[in-house]
């Protein structure tokens, strides 16, 4: 079921060939404001590197965070994608959320001692790491930094409001439509292609997240395709009629993330 985590981090983790990768530049990264505050524009070249570990590679299926381990840092996704999950009593995963370039992971651990869930790379990815233990190095700029943090947390809180919409009122068709739109919105927010993209997660993960069966997700994709709302080829998706999808989702357009 699971590919081994060790052997996935292979020598060529640097040379992704065929397709070009979606990488967010710093200025559309959720950590940007914090990086700036942390001294990126200051003549303190080492300080920022001390606090922010930059562009670390993460292999597919590798865990960046393991549920229950002590909190120490938050992560910004630079490229690639991640899923967060908890393990249920029956041993199954329950996927909590997905993360994409420009977004911050680990915020929910801020006020606690431990991370509440695990975070796993869906593909070869890169992250920046912000070490909270070293934040006091910021000295008087800590206040600015906190300001940025508040912004990030608030954005995140607002994003979480999608979930009840995804899962509450809706049937399989609406959920799937809403899911695709929310992905698209999140990509757009960080300047990534939002009409035509590759789903980094399996149908299994999508189904788990949406509370549906794999087969149902597949059927919904096919149904949308037959209605000319989108085109699917495996994990590659092109949204052809976002307006129709929006109508189908049952949300009115005022509900942006």
């Amino acid at each position: 079921m699971h590919t081994n985590e060790r052997d996935t981090c292979r020598p060529n983790s640097r040379t992704f060939s065929r397709k070009k990768k979606n990488v967010v530049e710093c200025d559309s990264c959720g950590l940007y404001g914090m990086c700036q505050v942390a001294g990126l524009d200051e003549p303190v070249p080492d300080l920022i590197d001390e606090i922010v570990g930059r562009r670390e590679e993460v292999g597919i299926s590798q865990n960046v965070i393991t549920a229950g381990t002590p909190f120490g840092e938050i992560y910004a996704v630079k490229s690639g994608s991640f899923k967060t999950y908890v393990t249920l009593a029956n041993g199954e995963q329950q996927i909590i959320d997905f993360y994409f370039p420009g977004e911050l992971m680990g915020l929910e651990a801020l006020s606690e001692r431990n991370y509440p869930h695990s975070v796993e790379a869906l593909e070869a990815s890169t992250v920046c790491r912000l070490n909270f233990a070293k934040l006091d190095l910021l000295g008087e700029r800590l206040g600015e930094f906190q300001q940025q943090l508040i912004q990030a947390l608030s954005r995140r809180t607002r994003q979480d409001q999608w979930v009840p919409l995804l899962m509450g009122a809706q049937n399989a068709e609406q959920r799937t439509a809403t899911f695709l739109l929310s992905l698209s919105d999140r990509f757009a927010e960080h300047g990534l292609p939002s009409q035509r993209f590759k789903l980094p997660m399996s149908r299994h993960d999508i189904a788990n997240y949406l509370g549906l069966a794999v087969e149902t997700v597949s059927r919904m994709f096919q149904r949308f395709q037959s209605m000319d709302l989108l085109e699917v080829h495996g994990r590659h998706v092109e949204l052809r009629d976002m307006e129709a999808l929006r109508v189908m989702s049952g949300l009115n357009n005022t509900n942006a993330t």
Copy 2:
């Protein structure tokens, strides 16, 4: 210190007869740290009152926040309860969350110009109001305040993680069990009775929130009762076997809010 409950805790500020009301004291309120920072323990008696409007009454079905209106303040629930919702394209409400004494409402608007959803009282309630426009009155203590705010946001973010668990993997039985447990936990967190309590929301609201039909919620309650897991009389609930409920919910016990 911190004893100015004076005008407030009169057992019936209006005429609630029969039952005593659940009111959180300041020290188990989500705004507490902020109130303190804001000057509650300082010899600046008017400052705090300037920033925090205290113990305002809200009638049943009254809206504290309307979706789309400009952000200006966050609210702490002092007594009573609230629901937040958005209006879907078909005119129906989708309930996003419920709020109980000690919790903060409106945080998701912090980084935006407008509130993303509406907040309505489920019963006669009281709130404290924290005016963001006047925060600069805090001067140098603003930093401390931000610290508190970060804590609050992070707690909130962590709480939101319940939702996918509620709605994702589970069947009606599991959802209902999880719902009851999450309510119980939230009550306990602020020192309110957590085994025996009155559901402030209708079956309709519960069903809406859980993505189930009213009838199904009712049947689940009856089923639990017949299994001796709880007792229901209308909106009054007593959890008789929380451990069994936890097992039924499918969560393992490490997933506290």
